[in-house]
């Protein structure tokens, strides 16, 4: 009996063990969807394109990158030239650039482009009505253009990536495309995207932030103006060895289209400048960039009040905080002497030409009768400093602050503590479209009418409390129209990651960057200030020996005066090769067909 029972037990155990083999091996994922079951309906395409939005560089760190790697750190407009922590931007302005093994911007861009290409591949295979997903295909193409343009600005011509690359694809080891081919690809993607994108007016509130037809047109205008100017002023001087030249002269074509695109957005986009000067003590230019709940400005205006941003990265205190110290980081973006003197007086004239300019005899003076943007950017909501209110005794601060992008009431009541600031980041805003319109029109025709100025730049100047720019004002005061248009751009777009790109496409980066970067006018015996008395002796507001680079005489709005040096011209060595960043050496080794940029 026992024998039999043992046999049965053994038999059962073995049979049991062998028979359930698949229970141990056929184990599919239990908490994930699989690719094979996805991309079956428009909602899934919508969700997939949603993932592209946080890949535009903005506040929050994504893949090790945020916008503080750019801004205008290290440029001629900023007195923050030593901060090198931000993707090397500070030392970049000094012409001090090291050859990197790897470049996260190169890697990330191609990563994002791949996810776009994947979606486009899925869209081609979509079995439903393709009309239902055309918006998402168009958004994808917009982003493919966006990232290629980013690469173009940083590296010049780069390999164009429009297919999903396999490990054995020849594209892996492709050569660089010329910048001309890259621009054609960017424009081709935008042309394909624009007709299929919804207008802002038809995008439901819940989807605001998604790319509209106008956003794509505005971006296209940006690309065209950028490239037209580059070809006009910088030309082929930065092309890598072996790069093909432009197939044809496209400058006029680009400028014409840029004007048309900008005009379409201005006329039909329904966007408006955010102008609440009356309720905000003329500080619209300060509060606009910090809208973040009703406590973010004295009028209680929240995000829906903003009709100026055409494409923005959306943040929310509850749902998506910036997770960076927007305020503290932005504070560091202090203006340089040059920027301070570039701000206009209320009569529309540059400070060095305007009778309204009050000089520098005390620190309150230079703020008088000036552009609201200067007040907004340098002072935020604070009042103009009293005479003697600024000290230059610590060797660190140079007398000016920056408040653009910083939270209102940050220190007083910590409305938004560090890392919780959640204002939207403007990727494209109406003011830029106005400036594209004016600049492209001028570049196209060599002139611009007052009427065209009035529907573009002068709207911005009005908000800034500055008299209109007219052909009359220019000729009557010996100004140069192009310089004034460019000035407008520098002032309005300060710290929005434009300055370096502008200087390079205008072909003047070497001249503008390789200068003394200065801070406060400290004067001397002949020009007493808060910092030097009539005997030329430093007052108790100023400790000269704390400032390592001393003083130098530079051209100011009130003539050649003694200023505090932040970074001497001798320390700058920005060259033509620096117009483009070097390709990461690791990539050159991995793909011998890649050629390094000239000069590296």
């Amino acid at each position: 009996m026992k024998k039999i029972s043992i046999l049965i037990v053994i038999g059962c155990l073995i049979i049991l063990a062998v028979s359930c083999r698949n229970d141990f091996l056929d184990l599919a994922p239990q908490d994930q969807l699989t690719e094979a079951s996805y991309f079956k309906n428009p909602d899934q395409f919508k969700a997939s394109t949603a993932s592209f939005y946080d890949k535009m560089i903005s506040w929050k760190n994504v893949d090790g990158v945020n916008v503080f790697g750019f801004m205008d750190f290290g440029s001629d407009l900023s007195s923050n030239v030593k901060d090198r922590g931000y993707a090397g931007q500070g030392s970049y302005g000094l012409g001090s650039l090291t050859l990197p093994d790897n470049d996260q911007f190169w890697d990330n861009s191609y990563k994002y482009i791949r996810s776009v290409n994947l979606l486009l591949e899925k869209a081609r295979a979509y079995e439903g009505d393709k009309d239902d997903i055309k918006q998402y295909v168009a958004e994808s193409k917009f982003f493919r253009a966006w990232h290629h343009f980013f690469l173009l600005q940083r590296f010049g011509g780069v390999p164009i990536d429009t297919v999903v690359i396999d490990l054995d694809s020849p594209e892996l080891y492709g050569a660089r495309n010329s910048r001309y081919e890259v621009v054609d690809q960017v424009l081709a993607d935008l042309n394909a995207a624009i007709p299929n994108l919804p207008t802002e007016q038809t995008i439901p509130d819940a989807d605001k932030g998604r790319v509209s037809k106008w956003a794509a047109e505005a971006f296209k205008a940006r690309v065209e103006l950028y490239e037209a100017a580059w070809r006009k002023y910088t030309g082929t001087t930065t092309d890598f060895t072996g790069s093909a030249g432009p197939a044809k002269d496209q400058v006029t074509e680009f400028l014409t289209d840029a004007v048309a695109m900008a005009k379409d957005v201005m006329d039909n986009g329904g966007y408006e400048l955010w102008d609440y000067n009356t309720g905000l003590n003329n500080r619209s230019n300060f509060y606009l960039f910090t809208i973040d709940g009703t406590g973010s400005n004295p009028m209680g205006l929240d995000k829906p009040s903003n009709k100026e941003f055409i494409l923005q990265s959306v943040y929310d205190y509850e749902l998506r905080q910036s997770a960076v110290q927007i305020t503290r980081e932005s504070w560091r973006l202090t203006p340089s002497r040059k920027l301070m003197d570039m701000y206009l007086c209320t009569d529309g004239l540059p400070a060095d030409k305007s009778p309204l300019f009050q000089g520098y005899s005390d620190v309150s003076k230079e703020f008088e009768n000036r552009d609201y943007r200067m007040i907004s950017n340098v002072l935020g909501d604070e009042s103009i400093p009293d005479a003697g209110a600024v000290s230059l005794t610590d060797g660190v601060l140079y007398g000016f602050g920056n408040f653009k992008f910083t939270s209102w009431n940050f220190t007083e009541n910590s409305y938004r503590p560090d890392n919780t600031e959640s204002s939207n980041y403007p990727q494209i805003r109406l003011a830029e479209v106005f400036m594209i319109y004016a600049e492209a029109l001028y570049e196209l025709n060599g002139s611009i009418s007052d009427a065209d100025l009035d529907i573009s730049i002068n709207l911005i100047r009005k908000r800034a409390g500055v008299a209109a720019l007219t052909n009359n004002l220019v000729s009557a005061n010996g100004l140069d129209m192009l310089t004034e248009i460019r000035r407008e751009r520098a002032l309005e777009m300060y710290s929005e990651n434009n300055r370096f790109n502008d200087l390079k496409r205008w072909g003047i980066a070497e001249t503008e960057l390789n200068q003394n970067v200065c801070g406060m006018v400290v004067g001397d015996a002949s020009y007493p200030t808060d910092f030097k008395d009539a005997a030329g002796v430093a007052t108790d507001k100023y400790t000269p020996n704390k400032y390592g680079y001393g003083e130098t005489v530079v051209k100011t709005a009130d003539g050649d005066l003694n200023c505090l040096v932040i970074m001497p011209a001798a320390s700058h060595d920005f060259q033509r090769k620096h117009y483009l960043f070097p390709l990461p050496t690791q990539q050159l080794l991995l793909n011998p067909n890649l050629v390094q940029n000239t000069g590296y």
Partner: protein, 1086 residues
């Protein structure tokens, strides 16, 4: 989605061949054995009959077994040779057995030489077992069975419970450090429950990092914690399978296997108690500066600058600080603030006490044996401000029952729980490293003081005290059942089931701690500005089923044993997480009790994996002289696609006992008692680099925020950007070769074992580096190759002089690896490189330096010589002569232009031997050794165990790697006086500077920054005294011993910059000191 271009056709064909023949063989074996079963069972009757016949010449034999010192040997086994009939000596060493005249009794005990006695007329047989230094008669666990050490052919080491006895540790792994060569155990902290333990057998095996497979009582442990939280007192032996012998565990064996066997009951009922109370004192102090030292570094650095940088104050302020003057200082960044002695170290760390207790009841009878134990430990780290430690609760019952002569039931029930409790924040680099050391933790009003006056938001003392708690619980329930059936005399069947369920729970709450200025005003910053609470559970449910047939046969001098089995395993994992934020501190910390206004979050997750395997092993030996073993395993894993699921692993080994050969005996080498040569070749597998579902392409779901009034929207993307694993990708395979000898000399007093091994991982799972235009990380493919060579040696001496016995043991091992192929790993950077073809993993590529620039003339000449450079991270053009913050000056380093191309640069084509970097060794520990000293005299016993590393190159990393790597953090005080200055031109380090760019040039990745992390540490010191029996008799105490046990009491190290040699290369999180443990304990047996 992705086509593989890296299939190695040679490799595939080899796999294919094995596949073709291996599986049928296993199946045939199993079938044959099953047929044997049937015959065996039908043959049973005849066996029974023959046994009945011999009953008539039975003879009762009894006696006492003592050791060479005359002490009784309890638990020794007495077996009738050729049968399984046997008994075990009781606590006094007495035994009684019924045998037959003419049969042979075998007396054996672990660690002693086995004796055989022929039963004659006598009924009293007293035996003295000699201590065997060699342990050749030891029976060692080898996976699915036991083998005699003397006839084993693999590289196996066994550590007995002795190494764990009286140790003041509650984690058995820590007690194994330095005990056996080839098993290297490292930790980077001594914080209980947070030691960051890493176990590695025979060095690296793969770039993917491999941990050994831990098998407890025959079943793989479901979690690492199952081993770490065992009661050390429950462990009988720990065996380490190092070579191809581990292949019996197939696809998880390439990192070696650790077999843990727990104690079972033996002899008459016995109650054992062991316990200790201990004092933990902080060990080596972290070298972070106090206020005076901090100011000294600044002053020394700026003394060398033409354009001094004082950061937040000026020279006058620093001079005041250097003198330790506390008071209001005027600063540029934070206004007028109080600066005082703010060295966190003395206020954060202090001596703490811990304890550990274990109680067991064990015994056996004819039919059963049992052992029941409970354990409790409370280990406390040195944190002074709050509890930071681990509590451990253990319960174990091993109960075996003989159902009949043929059927034995073995069972085990384990419950073990560990609870690690720490502050929810502050145990990181904010302790002593992040901020300058001059912000006292409290202001004069007793409020928590803000760093940087009004602005700061860090205060580790406050955060660890009031910032909330982080509690982690693991509770493991394990049930094992095994039935063993003797089918016929030589054949047995064994079937087992094991279920392990581990419940992990983590609860964190973070409370906002307001900070105050020195004047008592609320500061702008606070700690945990957003309070929160979260709870997480993770559940692992692991099942293991196993059935096998075991056959042993002796025919004259031929001994055969064979084994074949099948096993199935499945692991299921589930997770749940929930959180609320912010919360009100009402003293009750549970999600339910947490009101929330902003956020509530939750997430889940689950996965599973399974393994289905056939295995078999055949041993043959002739005359105990010629030894041969072959084993194989076929694994099918759920981690691979159907079709490439199965892989086969094997090992072949042989041994030759020369001392059994007549021609050797004829040589009359009296000094040599035993000599065995052994050699093996095996292939094992490794799947640690692979995810559970890599062959599926999945969708990652998330959310983005959009809308004029922002709201979340679903977002989705293809995981890995569509670069999923090729379905043909499979396990890594590691070929292991081993050759070695075991030797016993001078009357078995001296033993020497030596092994040399090679490992070749030629299908290493790597992510090849492709040009970034690929747009993602390449999936794993079997395309890397790593070669490892190494050796181990053990020498033991054991002797006695009168009453004094002593032993000395030394073991040492080294392992060297070389990356043979790894596409894309041709380039390297300055510093530590994980992988470079042709070099070891973790290679140091450093700049060679030629002393320091001693004068301005030398500086000028240096600039003149190296101006033309392009760029690179040592580029002189970045250190412009015109820039006072960067220009080189006397006291700075002279880097050598190794490739003589006119500029100093890391860059260059390594294939052409270009660039200025030089290979200077690797970062793995080499010459890892252990030294064990033991002695006993009358009732006293002494044991000292040293452990150390002979060579390991490290470069300190993170912010405190060198002075002024960053100016805003604390500094390393150990550099004071060791840097170049005009009056100290022969210094070891270059001059100090406050400019970080230049400091990077002067310090980072320069040859002199590489330190040899050589050390020797007194891991354990035990001094015990066993009380004389006569004192105890009245109290009914069988045995009583008191002992002192200490851990980490002393060390010597070549580390130059003040850190503990065991903590690794980081400097940021190194505020927490390693502890020294001083304990008093007692063993009692009733």
């Amino acid at each position: 989605m992705i086509k593989s271009i890296n299939c190695c056709s040679k490799r595939n064909s080899r796999l294919l061949n094995i596949k073709i023949w291996f599986k049928p063989i296993v199946v045939v074996c199993l079938l044959m054995l099953q047929v044997l079963n049937v015959q065996a069972v039908s043959a049973k009757d005849s066996v029974g009959e023959s046994k009945a016949e011999t009953m008539q010449v039975e003879k009762k034999v009894s006696g006492k077994v003592i050791d060479d010192q005359g002490f009784p040997v309890p638990g020794a086994s007495v077996v009738i040779k050729g049968t399984t009939i046997g008994t075990i000596t009781d606590i006094d060493g007495n035994y009684a057995i019924t045998s037959e005249i003419g049969s042979v009794l075998i007396f054996s005990f672990i660690g002693m030489e086995t004796q055989e006695v022929v039963v004659g007329d006598q009924s009293l047989v007293n035996i003295t077992l000699l201590t065997s230094s060699i342990g050749l008669e030891e029976v060692v666990a080898v996976g699915y069975g036991m083998q005699k050490k003397s006839t084993m052919t693999g590289a196996v080491e066994q550590v007995s419970s002795k190494a764990l006895e009286s140790r003041a540790v509650s984690n058995p792994v820590l007690a194994l450090q330095g005990q056996t060569p080839g098993l290297t155990i490292t930790r980077t902290s001594s914080r209980p429950g947070n030691e960051d333990i890493n176990m590695q057998i025979r060095g690296a095996t793969s770039v993917n990092g491999v941990s050994p497979l831990v098998v407890i009582d025959g079943v793989p442990a479901a979690t690492g914690n199952a081993f770490f939280s065992m009661n050390p007192d429950d462990i009988e032996t720990v065996t380490v399978l190092k070579d191809g012998m581990a292949a019996i565990y197939g696809s998880r064996a390439a990192g070696g296997v650790i077999l843990v066997t727990t104690k079972r009951g033996k002899g008459k009922m016995k109650v054992d108690y062991t316990g200790n109370v201990r004092i933990n004192t902080p060990g080596i102090k972290t070298p972070t500066a106090n206020m005076q030292e901090y100011a000294t570094l600044w002053l020394d650095a700026n003394a060398q600058e033409t354009s001094p940088l004082w950061w937040f104050a000026g020279k006058d302020e620093m001079l005041r600080m250097q003198q330790g003057i506390e008071g209001i200082y005027s600063t540029t960044h934070w206004g007028d603030i109080f600066i005082g002695q703010g060295d966190r170290y003395p206020e954060l760390f202090q001596t703490r006490t811990s304890q550990q207790h274990s109680l067991s009841v064990s015994g056996s009878s004819d039919k059963t044996n049992y052992r029941f134990s409970v354990g409790y430990a409370n280990n406390v780290g040195n944190l002074a401000t709050a509890y930071d430690g681990q509590k451990q609760y253990n319960l174990k019952l091993n109960y075996d029952f003989k159902v009949s002569d043929r059927i034995t039931l073995t069972s085990g029930v384990t419950y073990q729980k560990d609870h690690t409790s720490s502050p929810s924040g502050g145990i990181d680099w904010s302790m002593t490293s992040q901020d300058p050391p001059f912000f006292p933790a409290k202001n004069p009003y007793g409020q928590w003081h803000s760093n940087f006056g009004n602005a700061g938001n860090r205060n580790a003392t406050a955060l660890t005290t009031d910032g909330g708690r982080d509690d982690k619980y693991n509770s493991l329930t394990r049930i094992d059942l095994k039935v063993n059936v003797k089918l016929i005399k030589d054949l047995e069947f064994e079937s087992s089931a094991s279920i392990q369920e581990n419940q992990f729970r983590r609860e964190i709450y973070k409370l906002t701690v307001p900070l105050y200025t020195w004047d008592g005003d609320p500061a702008a910053g606070s700690l945990n500005s957003t309070s929160s609470i979260s709870a997480e559970t993770q559940n692992i449910y692991y099942q293991n089923y196993n059935s096998l047939l075991r056959y042993t046969k002796e025919l004259g001098n031929h001994r055969i044993s064979a084994l074949a089995g099948v096993s199935a395993e499945k692991n299921e994992f589930k997770k749940l997480f929930a959180s609320r934020s912010p919360i009100t501190d009402n003293g009750v910390y549970d999600l339910n009790a947490a009101d929330y206004t902003d956020k509530a979050g939750n997430s889940g997750g689950r996965n599973q994996w399974g393994l289905y395997s056939y295995y078999s092993r055949l041993n043959y030996s002739y005359n105990d002289t010629y030894l041969f073993e072959v084993l194989g395993r076929s694994d099918a894993s759920s981690k691979f696609a159907d079709g490439s699921r199965t892989a086969n692993f094997f090992n072949v080994s042989g041994g030759w006992v020369l001392t059994n050969e007549d021609f050797v005996k004829d040589l009359n080498l009296s000094a040599i008692d035993f000599l065995k040569l052994k050699v093996s070749y095996g292939e094992t597998g490794l799947q640690s680099g692979i995810g559970l579902y890599d062959y599926y392409s999945t969708i990652g779901l998330g959310t983005v925020v959009l809308g004029s009034t922002p709201a979340t929207q679903p977002s989705a993307g293809i995981s890995g950007n569509g670069l999923s694993m090729d379905p043909s990708t499979t396990w890594e395979r590691v070929a292991m070769k081993n050759i070695g000898f075991e030797m016993r000399l001078l009357n078995n007093r001296l033993s020497a074992d030596f092994n040399y091994y090679e490992k070749l991982n030629d299908g290493m799972l790597i992510r090849q580096t492709y040009p970034s235009i690929l747009g993602g990380t390449a999936p794993y493919s079997n395309s890397g190759e790593l070669e490892v060579k190494g050796w181990e040696a053990i020498v033991n001496w054991r002797d006695k002089i009168g009453d004094f016995t002593y032993n000395i043991g030394f073991n040492i091992t080294d392992s060297r690896n070389k990356l043979v192929s790894y596409e894309g790993a041709t380039t390297f950077n300055a510093g530590l490189n994980d992988r470079i073809i042709g070099r070891p993993l973790g290679s140091w590529m450093m700049y060679e330096t030629d002393g320091f620039l001693q004068s301005q003339d030398e500086v000028d000449a240096y600039y003149a010589k190296y101006t033309g450079g392009l760029s690179g991270d040592a580029d002189l053009t970045a250190l412009k002569a015109s820039d006072p913050t960067a220009t080189l000056r006397p006291g700075d380093v002279k880097k050598v232009d190794l490739d003589s191309n006119g500029y100093i640069s890391a860059l260059g084509d390594p294939a052409k031997d270009e660039g200025d970097l030089k290979y200077m060794g690797d970062n793995a520990p080499h010459f890892v050794f252990g030294l064990n000293l033991g002695a006993s005299w009358k009732g006293f016993d002494f044991n000292a165990s040293f452990q150390g590393v002979g060579k390991q190159y490290i470069q300190r990393g993170d912010y405190l790697a060198y002075p002024f790597n960053a100016i805003w953090c604390n500094q390393n005080a150990s550099f004071i006086g060791k840097t170049w200055a005009p009056e100290n031109t022969n210094a070891y380090y270059p001059r100090l500077s406050t400019y970080t760019k230049r400091n990077e040039y002067n310090y980072k990745n320069n040859d002199f920054m590489l330190q040899n992390n050589r050390y020797i540490r007194l891991k354990s010191l035990i001094i015990g005294y066993t009380l004389p029996k006569e004192w105890l008799a009245k109290a009914n105490i069988e045995r009583a011993r008191v002992f002192f046990s200490g851990n980490d009491l002393w060390e010597s190290t070549s580390i130059k910059d003040g850190y503990d040699p065991e903590q690794g290369m980081g400097s940021n999180n190194a505020g927490y000191p390693f502890m020294r443990t001083w304990s008093l304990g007692v063993n009692l047996s009733f």
